[in-house]
């Protein structure tokens, strides 16, 4: 099973019925976001840090 088919099957398991073409579009979108997040993780080095709690402004230091 290739990545696109795996995406389609994963969606199907969640009750979302997509064509291969639709699964390809979603796969591409996810791949782009995950690559971006991994790039950001490498740059910002958040590994091991616990997420801050509270609202965004509280996290911003208030």
């Amino acid at each position: 099973v290739n990545d696109v088919e795996a995406t389609r099957l994963l969606a199907l398991a969640r009750g979302l019925i997509w064509t291969t073409e639709e699964a390809q579009a979603v796969h591409d979108q996810l791949a782009g976001i995950r690559a971006g997040l991994e790039r950001a993780r490498a740059t910002m080095d958040v590994g091991g840090e616990e997420p801050a709690s509270g609202s965004a402004p509280e996290r911003a230091g208030r």
């Binding site: 979603v26 958040v46 965004a56």
Partner: protein, 469 residues
């Protein structure tokens, strides 16, 4: 005041006219409707003009004003509401086929209720980009140049305000949806601190980023409407935001990005931004170059959070009726439905890193505000999907959001103020970013800039000074 001029009044002037007795709320409504009739056939900013409801409301406001009773600072001021906010008696369409035939809302959204309590005259509901998730807002056109889009997602609100159809309007901002249309339509937009204003009764896009706020034609007008939207808890956090406190620019410290995504802009935008910084410096502000490299990572973090939260909110539609969602948004939401929890949480952890970086920048340089171009480009067309900026090709959606979304991630308050025109006569803007709940000081700074700005050419070409578009 003649009826012909009433639609040109800003919110502050309109409120004053009612208090002074030189105009009634019904006069202001008549003028607003007259202007809507003149421009709407070309503008397409409204999904519904609530003529009957507004007329009834105006009559009540007339009687109260005649008795010397004023509900609040917006008594009789015509305002439009973005069509993702519930307004009692009207359907909330969200620009989406998902909500076609929706029943009228039974109660107002909390901020709409607040506006009503402040005396605002609710004229109608404005076009939003589908599900508040996009930067075009078709079919609404830009009143500066009707061949261009008004931006989005609060595009109908921005176009209506810029054209003089209403004095002010509400918008929402998840990745720039107040500031983007404010910038391309040449008006002021305020994205308040996250959680300052209630989102209850407003359809969410991504609830950990969503913020509601006002659009108006001046900083003073926008501040007045923000004041009207605040509840007691909000006012306790920020104090009064109108009248805007006076501020001496001397002694203020303003950070200016020295590199990175906030500086990668079209030459015409860069020129206007440099001029804005020079004005602030000439006015006495200390300008400090700053660098926040973490902001380079904004887009994947923003999009991961938006897609996951939007997929969660629209889960039922994705299972049962996703054909009613247009292609690009559907793919984004579908991807959100398959995004792993660890990816979403990674995005939130990275977001916390961006918050820390911005806070560190403010603390290290003792900043009162960070100032940056609101957008890297001026107007764009409905059919434009990509743009080349500084030799780099990028999607319009990425280009518009990369300068605005960092401050959705941090939850910071931001005020976008027009900064002049390009050679082609299109508006560009600068955004002032403040500390959380620092709205009053931020508005003071934004207004100080607005007063310094040489706006003659801008004013001459503003749609508010044209009888037709």
């Amino acid at each position: 005041v003649s009826a012909a001029a009433l639609w040109q009044l800003g919110a502050v002037e309109a409120a004053a006219a009612v208090r002074e007795g030189s105009a009634t709320p019904s006069d202001l409504l008549a003028a607003s409707l007259e202007r809507i009739d003149a421009v709407e056939p070309e503008l397409h900013a409204f999904v519904e003009v609530n003529r009957d409801g507004a007329a009834r409301q105006a009559e009540e406001l007339d009687c109260e004003a005649a008795d010397g009773r004023f509900r609040g600072p917006l008594h009789g001021v015509p305002i439009a509401i973005k069509d993702i906010f519930d307004v009692e008696g009207l359907p909330t369409g969200c620009g989406s086929a998902l909500y076609e035939g929706a029943s009228p809302a039974r109660v107002d959204a909390v901020v709409v209720e607040r506006l009503r309590a402040a005396g605002a005259l609710l004229v109608g509901k404005t076009v939003t980009h589908e599900l508040a998730c996009g930067v075009y807002s078709a079919p609404t056109r830009n009143p500066w140049d009707t061949s261009l889009t008004c931006g989005g997602s609060s595009g109908g609100s921005a176009a209506a305000v810029a054209a003089g159809a209403v004095t002010a309007a509400t918008g929402s901002d998840t990745g720039g949806s107040i500031r983007i249309p404010a910038s391309v339509c040449g008006i002021v937009g305020i994205k308040p601190t996250y959680d300052l204003l209630s989102r209850q009764g407003v359809a969410p896009l991504a609830w950990s980023l969503d913020t509601v706020g006002p659009l108006a034609r001046s900083v003073d007008d926008a501040a007045l409407v923000l004041e009207g939207m605040l509840d007691a808890a909000g006012r306790a956090r920020v104090g009064e935001v109108w009248p805007i406190p006076l501020l001496e620019l001397a002694g203020t410290v303003v950070g200016v990005p020295a590199d990175g995504i906030l500086t990668q802009v079209e030459p015409s935008v860069a020129a206007a931004f440099v001029q804005a910084c020079e004005l602030l410096a000439a006015g006495g502000a200390t300008i400090v170059p700053v660098s926040i490299p973490e902001l380079e990572e904004t887009l994947p973090i923003e999009f991961a959070i938006v897609m996951a939260e939007a997929a969660s909110y629209h889960e039922q539609a994705l299972r049962q009726n996703d054909g009613a969602i247009s292609d690009g948004i559907r793919t984004l939401f579908r991807a959100g439905a398959l995004l792993l929890a660890e990816d979403y949480l990674l995005a939130q952890r990275l977001r916390a890193g961006i918050c820390r970086a911005v806070e560190r920048c403010f603390s290290e340089h003792w900043l009162d505000a960070l100032v940056a171009p609101t957008l890297p480009l001026a107007g764009y067309g409905h059919g434009d999907s990509a743009v080349s900026i500084d030799g780099v090709d990028e999607a319009i959606a990425d280009a518009t959001v990369r300068t605005t979304a960092p401050f959705n991630l941090t939850g910071s308050p931001v005020v976008s103020v027009p900064a002049g025109l390009t050679d082609a006569g299109l508006p560009v803007a600068v955004q002032f970013v403040g500390r959380a709940f620092g709205e009053a000081r931020l508005l003071s700074l934004a207004r100080a800039y607005e007063e310094l700005r040489d706006s003659r050419a801008f004013d001459e070409r503003h749609p508010i000074h044209r009888s037709t578009l």
